[in-house]
Symmetry: C2
Subunit: 128 residues, 2 copies
């Protein structure tokens, strides 16, 4: 992970115009990470995702799913039942990324206590 | 990675009031990921980081470094040379996270072509 290009790929998110910077920004979004987590165990309907990701608005979930679908990371499946059913699932590409997202989520959860302790120490040192 | 609490930890970013949600949001920020990448190979001065992360403003870099320092992920080192020198480095905790950040960055760079192809297909399908 050198900031300078490594010569072994065409993309470099350290360069402001590179499309990989925008992708990285998109993937790191809280809602992307949580939607990936919600879909990790299997396909879900829109309302099921909304229920799992507490506090996400309908608008934000719609937008997040559309972005992820356009990127080829999430697929919409239509079932012509009665009533018809639509579910969202990780694609193969999305599944590959899901492990990275999962690692990030697990890191935040697993180190929250250490981060809170660090904040307390920092605030005490910088108080007054 | 179940959206419902798993009972084996106290934090759950799927719950809107959990501090781990805010931490996850913070860590996923583009500038956090890129600053981690810049510091991956060793300590750097402020101006060196700014040079590597093309397009980051002084204000945004200052803010990002302060947040990461407060979280215990980055440390400031003062060297009382003449002129005095200040460098930023990943802490042990930050180094642990850096591998996850690196995986995310590598994923974006390594799959950019697939994502661009998916976008093209999506746009063609949804055109008109």
């Amino acid at each position: 992970m050198s900031a300078a290009g490594e010569g072994d790929h065409a993309y470099n998110p350290y360069t402001r115009s590179c499309p990989s910077r925008r992708l990285l920004r998109e993937l790191g979004e809280l809602w992307s990470v949580l939607v990936f987590g919600a879909l990790y165990d299997g396909p879900l309907r829109f309302t099921e995702i909304a229920r799992r990701v507490d506090g996400i608005s309908t608008k934000m979930l719609t937008q997040t799913l559309r972005t992820l679908e356009r990127d080829g990371l999430v697929s919409r499946e239509y079932y012509t039942e009665s009533p018809p059913r639509v579910t969202y699932a990780l694609t193969e590409l999305g599944r590959d990324l899901a492990d990275v997202m999962d690692a990030l989520e697990k890191w935040a959860v697993g180190h929250m206590d250490e981060v809170l302790a660090a904040r307390e120490a920092y605030d005490a040192e910088h108080a007054g």
